[in-house]
């Protein structure tokens, strides 16, 4: 892998309505404060899928996890994260509220060791929703939206751990969207799944984007080109290029992007 000039980048400003944006986001890890993300400034369009791609160690997951403050306890994050005209990367902001509006699905499916219903209702109840009918409706809608309803509607009270990996991941999506978030962050959600489950998941995401803004980290370039409208390419903690997905994959501006999408490294 050759050394690229990391100070050069090509970042577009999407013309659509912006749901979330970051301004000069920097992340420092550990006791010696290693910088793992430098000046990332990106804007994510509403009701679109944006893919974050890059080799492992490029900082794409670190960046994603900063967006709903999941890095709070393990890293220092500086810069602005603007959501609804509020800088949510501020100590004064209620981080629990942030996460209600910006949901997250992780690399490995992580359902709770509870029944399918309880997986979805647990956080709803904690958020103060106690009406049984409403809870039942939310379970059904979210499972339908996550395309899991038909497979589990008769076993809602069985343990979520008895589901297959792909089903578990869709349950995690259902659990996240039951909170009615604005934005859904997905951190390589298909990396632990087989090709059939992956295809199902992608279908689900394409349906979900009608109602949610989706930002997805993936190491799978085909996946990025199949489902996303915009793509950001990360390299060694820097955003090198951010543009329409078609531009990234067909006419990339930066040398590093070109090399990555043509498979020279990563």
């Amino acid at each position: 892998m050759q050394a690229y000039d990391l100070s050069q980048n090509h970042i577009v400003m999407p013309p659509e309505e912006i749901a979330l944006s970051t301004n000069q986001l920097q992340v420092f890890y550990g006791s010696n404060q290693t910088q793992s993300m430098t000046d990332a400034s990106l804007s994510f369009p509403r009701f679109q899928i944006t893919a974050l791609i890059g080799a492992s160690g490029s900082g794409k997951s670190t960046y994603l996890r900063s967006l709903n403050r999941m890095n709070d306890r393990i890293a220092r994050v500086e810069g602005e994260i603007m959501y609804r005209n509020t800088n949510i990367n501020s100590r004064q902001v209620n981080v629990y509220e942030v996460r209600k509006h910006i949901g997250m699905v992780f690399q490995k499916p992580n359902p709770f060791a509870k029944s399918i219903t309880d997986n979805i209702t647990f956080a709803l109840k904690a958020a103060g929703i106690t009406d049984k009918k409403e809870l039942r409706e939310r379970v059904e809608t979210s499972l339908k939206e996550a395309a899991l309803w038909d497979e589990v509607k008769d076993d809602l009270n069985t343990s979520a751990l008895s589901l297959s990996g792909g089903q578990q991941q869709r349950l995690c999506i259902a659990r996240a969207i039951a909170m009615k978030p604005d934005i859904l962050l997905l951190d390589e959600p298909a990396s632990a799944l087989d090709p059939i489950s992956t295809a199902k998941l992608e279908m689900t995401l394409k349906e979900l984007v009608k109602n949610y803004t989706i930002i997805i980290v993936t190491h799978n370039m085909q996946q990025a080109s199949r489902i996303s409208t915009y793509t950001a390419f990360f390299h060694l903690g820097h955003v090198i290029e951010y543009d329409k997905t078609t531009a990234i994959f067909q006419t990339p501006t930066m040398q590093a992007t070109r090399d990555y999408v043509t498979g020279h490294f990563g």
Partner: protein
């Protein structure tokens, strides 16, 4: 001698030493059960002890042991749970956490007789609680805490971080995540730890001799008023436990049938502890299976 001969000889030596250890255990269990069983009878379990004549039972001692165990767990479990949650969920990687861990290590390495004497000094004498079940339960709490903290912390630690992330990513507070997600997932391990520690508490005597005392006043099992002096529920009365009873009849030497009483009491003690040990494993396994949906 060739290397191969040495190898054979060494293996035989190891096998021999292992066999000796197994024989020791078999002898111990055999001795306790064989010499103790003949003395266990309904009469033995249900009559009060007598100091100076033969034929005494262990009714009150057995009850005291159980009552003390329950009180100890009531005091030590919440404390241990809170501390374990701190260590596993809140503690940072810094000198303060190191200090806490050292403190807990020191506490766990203290001889139980020292812990008992501290309880005697502070609670029996300074706080005027006297020789009482309460003093005993507090002393046993000190003795039980470090182990319980460590086993609960271990169970909490064994819950994968992805579960914590799942909780907080839904906008739950850390506390809600711990209570609603982490604790239920760690429950089988926590329960196993509690029951195993119960076995240790049940057999402990050194920490009790000067806290719960060495006398077993006649109890009225029909008096449910915990304030009454002869009530079995009164936590302020002195209470000799089964383990202390074994020690006392053997060292004071005024009870004519001390040996058979100790044999019977030892057998009862061992049986209860065996039940705790096997129960802990069975309950842990059962709950684990139930939680993971039988797979």
């Amino acid at each position: 001698m060739t290397p191969n001969q040495t190898d054979k000889l060494a293996t035989q030596l190891i096998n021999f030493l292992v066999a000796v250890v197994v024989l020791i255990l078999l002898f111990l269990l055999g001795d306790i059960i064989l010499s103790g069983f003949p003395h266990i009878s309904w009469h033995f379990l249900t009559s009060p002890s007598s100091s100076f004549s033969a034929g005494g039972g262990i009714r009150d001692q057995l009850f005291n042991s159980l009552y003390l165990l329950i009180l100890t767990l009531i005091i030590s479990f919440p404390l241990a749970l809170g501390s374990a949650i701190y260590l596993s969920e809140y503690a940072g990687d810094n000198w303060f956490t190191g200090l806490i861990r050292t403190a807990i290590e020191v506490l766990s390495s203290l001889p139980s007789v020292v812990v008992g004497l501290f309880g005697y000094l502070l609670f029996v004498i300074e706080f005027h609680l006297g020789f009482s079940i309460l003093s005993g339960a507090i002393a046993l709490t000190f003795f039980n805490l470090p182990l319980l903290v460590r086993s609960i912390e271990g169970s909490l630690h064994a819950v994968p971080d992805s579960q914590r992330e799942a909780g907080i990513a839904l906008g739950l507070s850390n506390w809600r995540t711990i209570r609603g997600v982490i604790l239920p997932a760690a429950l089988p391990g926590i329960l196993t730890g509690i029951i195993l520690s119960a076995g240790r508490v049940f057999g402990e005597a050194a920490a009790l001799i000067y806290t719960a005392g060495q006398s077993a006043p006649i109890l009225d099992y029909t008096n449910w008023n915990p304030m009454a002096t002869d009530s079995f529920l009164n936590p302020m009365r002195p209470a000799e436990t089964l383990a202390v009873h074994i020690w006392k009849v053997n060292t004071e030497g005024v009870t004519p049938d001390a040996v058979s009483i100790s044999a019977g009491a030892s057998a009862v003690l061992i049986i209860v502890i065996l039940i705790f040990n096997f129960g802990a494993r069975a309950i842990g396994n059962h709950m684990f299976k139930k939680m993971t949906g039988g797979k």
